[in-house]
Amino acid sequence: MDEFGITVEEFINAINEFKNVSDQINDGWRIYENKNEIHKSYLKKESFINFDLQGELTLCKVEYNIFYNISYAVPSFSFNVWKSNGTLLTLEEIRQLSFIHIKREDFYSVITQQEHPLFGRPYFIMHPCHTAKLLAQFKLNSRNIIVTFLSLITPLLKLELPLEYGL
């Protein structure tokens, strides 16, 4: 298999393109640019979702980030879900919400809670080790690597990706 990796510049171009499409369809992704350290620029989307937590419908906020992993040279995905008092949902709670469709064993080997390299607080981060392998298969056919990347994640996460991104 060919080595896969994108440069920071490719990443920045891709997130800008992606954000333009998001703006057109009001999908809510925002770019947080870091001009001094360009590799620390990232995409973020937040939305409110009502979850059934132990039989009680609870308003939660979900945050998704797409940021650049400098070691693996790939886009990385992180997210967090929290309740109105700021307490985070646990990984097991999130898994049980079928917010993510994945077997328990596989789930924990793909997603781990760790200190976010950009925010310094705990986030659920999808491990980047498989990303390169997967993206390598699509690199030649991908019009936007962020769209390709997200489309690989969406089967796992309840993160609707409007078709417009592919058009």
Binding site: N26, W82, S84, N85, L88, Y108, S109, T112, Q113
Partner: protein
């Protein structure tokens, strides 16, 4: 207006606070590093959205403490106050109505001074009243959104969608006009529906801030719509409208007994305004003037629907110990799923370890174990006589160490001398505890486990033909010695007394000690897991291995050659620490026996019969030599 319409009291949808985890991070950081004991009020920002699909959520996050608020599409920023008190008692017992009234008075000052007309953002205020237990990462907090409880106004029938009054073209003009407004003017504004076009203006265009009181005749109420960005997504208006009406009536008292139209502006995700509502408000005739002497409402209700504070327990995402625990727990779970399916995680969690010695070695072991509680005790040692003055302290220390050993499952001996290991070895042997012993030399180390239990005599006679020694019959640290420990610090220079080791040695020995325990706990036989005499013997049945492999009795490593050997030895029946005669002497005579030992280690040699052994073999000279060369080198740390 026709009278057959139903008049209803306007019910406002209150704000629901929503705290981003980063708010608590910034809160904690500021409290610990800047405010410390200061209880001063702090300016903060909050925000609500007029997106029709979100609801009356009022958000604060890490940027709330910034000097200038972050701007986000479809969001309105509100300046508020954080009032944090240091004592739980103060938090509980302070007069809550005064807090709310004070915050309300601030708003009312802006109404009186007409500041709200030029700067409509000053009509909305909020505050957070809080108490935090930063050690436990528990935050009690209570949001207040002050609003006068007067006047009560009515709505003519149901509110209507804006599309019933404005056509598509007019809505587009409204949209453009709104977007042209300065961010500080978007809280409250006016919309004028002329025959040909719709204009959006600042409040100050319609209301004269210079006039103390304005007549309604200055305003063409038939084409003027008062407007606000509406956080509500139900048919009822959001909280900001309540303040708006109170302020309008204060400025324009002859609006009493009239009807006004108010637009609640609501945007959809696609930028459409079609979900906006128009409220036709009937203001009753009233003699009361609002404002002064009027009560303020606006405390948020908690999860139970009661007027009371909320609690956020953030320890699982903020407490470094909890975070380390969860990440190591996760690491173990991953290990179990992929690499070692038979791993027993519970036994790892359940096992309580006592670390005796908190030097470099102790710290390395603690790091691998994630240990946390500490006690401080001087461990009495053989060959260190106890004077009268210190007798009581000695008793206390023996009790402290004994109690600690009894309470724990595993005892790590990580002390800095051979003699300091004696008492814990005896006590642990007596109570049948697992002992993992680690000792360092300059560039060598020893990590070993002790056999558990009495009856060392049984170990004799199996002969060297056996391939393994059962775990319970393994020797202790002192089993290979034929001299009692004494004062090894006597007649030594500083570099000889202190632990002078290569920096990697403690880390290696500490890691091996923890891994040895892990393997032992995972072994189906536990402490009885056998140790093989000769690990290179290919004929040994690997059925003795545990989940994490075979467990040696001891590991002696040498950095000098980067090699390690795994010697195994059985209990020595004349051992000065774990032999029956010593354990029984301690059991029978207790501290009286200990005192004799502390007086001189020779007492041990006497009761174990080692003295006899020395004499009969005339080995004294040779042993003295061996004590210096082998044991002492490896006894430091």
């Amino acid at each position: 207006m026709s009278t057959n319409k139903e008049l209803k009291v306007v019910q406002y949808v209150p704000f629901k606070s929503f705290v981003h985890p980063s708010f608590w991070h910034s809160f904690t950081d500021i409290k610990l590093n800047i405010d410390k004991l200061e209880e001063a009020k702090k300016d903060i920002y909050g925000r609500y959205t007029y997106r029709e699909d979100v609801g009356t959520v009022f958000e604060v996050d890490g940027t709330s403490f910034n000097k200038l608020p972050e701007t986000e599409q479809y969001y309105i920023n509100v300046k508020g106050t954080l009032i944090n008190v240091n004592k739980l008692e103060d938090f509980k017992h302070s007069d809550k109505s005064i807090l709310l009234n004070n915050s309300g008075e601030e708003v009312w000052l802006n109404v009186k001074s007409k500041a709200w007309i030029t700067e409509p953002s000053r009509l909305i205020n909020f505050f957070i009243y809080s108490y935090s237990d930063l050690k436990k990462y528990r935050y009690y907090y209570w949001f207040g959104f002050p609003c006068p409880n007067q006047p009560t106004v009515y709505i003519n029938d149901e509110p209507v969608l804006i599309t019933t009054i404005f056509n598509e073209q007019q809505l587009e003009q409204l949209n453009k006009g709104f977007n042209a407004l300065d961010l500080t003017q978007r809280h409250y504004f006016t919309v004028t529906k002329n025959t040909n076009f719709v204009t959006v203006d600042c409040l100050s265009k319609i209301l004269d801030a210079k006039k103390q009181v304005q007549s309604k005749n200055d305003i063409n109420l038939s084409i003027t719509y008062f407007a606000f960005t509406d956080p509500s997504c139900s048919t009822s208006p959001g909280w900001p409208m309540r303040l708006f009406i109170a302020a309008l009536l204060e400025h324009c008292p002859d609006l009493y007994n009239t009807e006004i139209n108010i637009i609640g502006l609501r945007y959809s995700a696609n930028g459409s305004l079609q979900k906006s509502q128009v409220y036709n408000i009937k203001i009753p005739q009233t003699s009361e003037t609002s404002g002064e002497g009027v009560g303020w409402v606006g405390w948020e209700r908690n999860e139970k629907g009661a007027l009371g504070p909320k609690l956020a327990v953030m320890s699982s995402s903020m407490d470094p110990i909890k975070l380390a625990e969860s990440s190591s727990d996760l690491n173990m779970r991953l290990m179990k799923w992929r690499l070692v399916p038979d791993l027993d995680l519970d036994v790892m969690k359940r096992t309580k370890c006592l670390l005796l010695g908190a030097g470099t070695l102790g710290c390395h072991v603690a790091r691998n174990l994630l240990n946390s509680k500490s006690i401080f005790a001087h461990i009495p040692m053989p060959g260190y006589p106890v004077g009268e003055d210190l007798m009581e302290e000695m008793y206390n220390n023996v009790k402290l160490v004994t109690d600690a050993i009894v309470e724990h499952d595993v005892i790590f001996l990580l002390l800095d001398s051979r003699e300091a290991r004696w008492l814990p070895t005896v006590i642990a042997a007596l109570h049948g505890k697992i002992v993992i012993n680690a000792a360092l030399g300059f560039d060598s180390y020893l990590v070993m486990r002790h056999g558990v239990g009495l009856n060392a005599a049984d170990a004799e006679g199996e002969g060297l033909r056996a391939a393994t020694v059962p775990g319970g019959r393994l020797g202790c640290y002192f089993c290979n010695d034929v001299t009692a420990p004494g004062n090894t610090f006597a007649e030594r220079t500083l570099d000889q007394q202190c632990t002078v080791t290569r920096p990697g040695v403690a880390a290696i020995a500490g890691a091996l000690a923890v891994e040895m325990l892990a393997a032992l706990l995972q072994h189906p036989l536990g402490v009885e897991a056998p140790a093989v005499y000769n690990p290179d013997n290919k004929e040994i049945d690997s059925g003795d291995d545990g989940v994490l492999g075979s467990i040696p009795h001891s590991i002696r490593g040498f950095l000098h050659s980067y090699q390690s050997v795994l010697p195994t030895c059985a209990k020595f029946k004349q051992c000065i620490a774990c032999s029956d005669v010593v354990l029984n002497a301690y059991k029978d005579k207790g501290t009286e026996f200990l005192l004799k030992v502390f007086e001189s280690g020779k007492h041990l040699e006497r009761i174990t019969g080692l003295e006899e052994l020395h004499k009969s073999a005339e080995l004294s000279d040779m042993l003295a030599f061996s004590d210096d060369e082998d044991q002492v080198n490896i006894d430091n740390e």
